[in-house]
């Protein structure tokens, strides 16, 4: 069970704005990336640690979260470094959806109207096993699409690197 406040994203939150182009060539590092994450999304997030200092645990978004077709992993590591523990959206851009799975950060496909039923600052509670998200501030509830077994296994291992490293070390096939 995870509990914390959420930031409700506008439409068209793109990978480009989550990590702006001057940082694409920087190292992939949660701590470093979290300082500038979301800096292109909103004026209030543009200063160092602008997003991180808000202390959000969740993001609630509409369609195509983190779209724009960037494969850079800074997007996911930046969010993780800033304390985000799950992102709920109607849909996700596939590259960042994939990166999130590989890092074990839950990108959860939720009810279509969830972003309309939440406001920035609302307190949410997420029960991953049941796939239920409660908005404690408003007393409402949303459901999510359960993660595929592979996705859960990768998350349990602490990400794809650990998952594969273990298999290689044990001489197990990757299948």
């Amino acid at each position: 069970m995870i509990k914390g406040t959420c930031w409700v994203a506008d439409d068209y939150v793109m990978a480009y704005d989550i990590i702006t182009s001057e940082y694409w060539t920087s190292p992939i590092d949660p701590e470093e990336n979290s300082k500038i994450v979301m800096s292109g999304v909103k004026e209030e997030f543009s200063k160092e640690n602008g997003f991180k200092d808000k202390g959000y645990t969740f993001i609630v978004a509409n369609h195509n979260f983190a779209g724009g077709g960037k494969s850079i992993e800074h997007v996911v590591t930046g969010l993780m470094g800033a304390g985000i523990q799950a992102v709920f959206a109607t849909s996700f851009a596939r590259l960042q959806f994939r990166n999130a799975i590989n890092y074990g950060l839950p990108f959860i496909t939720s009810d279509d109207n969830m972003h309309l039923g939440c406001e920035t600052g609302d307190e949410l509670e997420y029960d991953a096993d049941k796939g239920i998200i409660k908005n404690l501030t408003k007393g409402t509830q949303f459901t999510s699409v359960p993660a595929a077994p592979f996705v859960s296994k990768v998350a349990e291992a602490g990400g794809l690197m650990n998952f594969v490293r273990e298999k290689i070390a044990n001489g197990e096939p990757i299948e």
Binding site: Y16, N64, S71, L95
Partner: protein, 422 residues
């Protein structure tokens, strides 16, 4: 029930007779590409998996494209580290400055992508590989590291969407216009997310390999997993001198199942332009005639090929770029550069007042070579127009085809190449 071409490739690559959409599989990878600014991190991660040798030294392709030639010391230092790490792993195919090109152009042009197989790359436009009937897929450095170690990657089998494209291409209308037309028609936000896009029909059969690369390249910008054109005689002719590997004419079964099928007649397709900010905010050229701009750019993995340059040269021959416009051409690879030189196109373009730079991703990644400044209005044959993409967040980028950029650069305002006096 039969399978689509993408399903067949994924079934074959995962050692199965059949796969169905939604299934999660580990597949064999034919080749994995990484490039200068992410490559070192791929190798670092690869070694952290407990491996010292990559799964196949001939199948890990390394390219310098985003940072070359280095415009500053930071990039120069990054490139030095990159060269060191590639050397350390004894990689066979390293396309460094001097032999460079944009990674996706290199992958296809140098025969590192094969019909009926899967190739991945750490840059989003790896979808380009679908042009030769391969499954091309963009991945992050984690997936690249895993593939370098194991020769494998995980995938969810996507649902397929078919675009049946008929009709005859009008003069000066290009594959880019079809890409942007589909972008406007489908919108960026949803319908095509995670889907495998298959392009078929007479208007696709008549497309050159360059056009097919443009079309598949931009499927990532539609949110799709991959874009693919089944191999045919054009593919066979293209690959003949590029690879000795054996491949098959894999294609979709007649009774394959599609999530959606769209019919598009391109006979009256007009040059199409994406307005600044959003890729799916497209208009036909008549809505923008006369729009002023001060920078013109042709290049990138979308439109920096010989055919694109030949089209520009044909339009710009014996004419002059307008005095209020700076125009830059960056060929997609050294091979393209040389071919354009030998064909005389570069001479034509230099005489017309076009600046030509050495192959790289150039200003498309906003990193160097003609980046946009505050207040600039750019007419670009690249692939992205988001705020800040080409440099300043206070610049505007219109996306269009090389023929529109060429005709417009002469007039100094958006011009329809179909009515331009050539």
């Amino acid at each position: 029930m039969g399978m689509t071409i993408t399903e067949k490739i994924m079934a074959r690559s995962s050692g199965r007779d059949k796969v169905t959409p939604g299934e999660l599989v580990w597949t064999d990878i034919h080749s994995v590409m990484t490039m200068d600014f992410l490559g070192r991190q791929c190798f670092d991660k690869f070694r952290s998996l407990g491996k010292t040798e990559v799964f196949d030294k001939d199948k890990v392709i390394c390219v310098s494209d985003h940072l070359v030639p280095p415009p500053n010391q930071r990039f120069a230092n990054m490139l030095n580290e990159w060269r060191e790490v590639v050397k350390q792993h004894d990689i066979t195919h390293f396309y460094d400055l001097g032999r460079q090109g944009i990674a996706h152009q290199i992958m296809v042009e140098q025969g590192h992508v094969l019909p009926g197989t899967i190739s991945i790359g750490t840059d989003s436009h790896a979808n380009t590989y679908g042009a030769v009937g391969a499954m091309g897929n963009a991945i992050g450095v984690t997936d690249a590291a895993v593939a370098m170690a194991t020769g494998k990657a995980w995938f969810r089998i996507p649902k397929s969407v078919k675009f049946n494209v008929t009709g005859k291409w009008q003069p000066w209308v290009m594959a880019k216009d079809l890409s942007l037309h589909i972008m406007g028609m489908m919108h960026w936000n949803g319908h095509l997310l995670y889907k495998a896009l298959e392009f078929t029909g007479p208007a696709i059969s008549s497309l050159s390999m360059a056009g097919r690369m443009t079309l598949c390249n931009m499927t990532v910008d539609l949110g799709a997993k991959n874009g693919i054109v089944a191999p045919d005689v054009v593919t066979e002719r293209y690959l003949r001198n590029r690879t000795n590997d054996k491949w098959h004419f894999v294609k979709s079964d007649e009774d394959a199942e599609y999530d959606m099928v769209y019919d598009i007649d391109i006979s009256d397709l007009a040059p199409t332009i994406a307005l600044p900010g959003k890729l799916d905010d497209t208009v036909t050229i008549d809505k923008l005639i006369g729009q002023k701009f001060n920078k013109a750019f042709v290049g990138t993995c979308t439109n920096g090929r010989l055919e694109d340059i030949a089209t520009m040269a044909e339009i710009m021959k014996d004419k002059q770029v307008h005095r209020d416009v700076n125009m830059i051409l960056v060929p997609a690879s050294q091979t393209v550069y040389l071919e354009a030189l030998q064909a005389g196109h570069l001479e034509t373009l230099i005489k017309a007042g076009v600046a030509i730079d050495t192959p790289s991703c150039a200003s498309c990644a906003g990193l160097h070579t003609g980046v946009a400044g505050d207040g600039d209005i750019v007419l670009s044959a690249g692939n992205r127009n988001m705020t800040g993409r080409m440099g300043s967040r206070n610049a505007k980028v219109y996306l269009t085809s090389p023929s529109v950029v060429a005709a417009s650069a002469i007039r100094g305002e958006v011009t329809d190449p179909r009515t331009f006096d050539i």
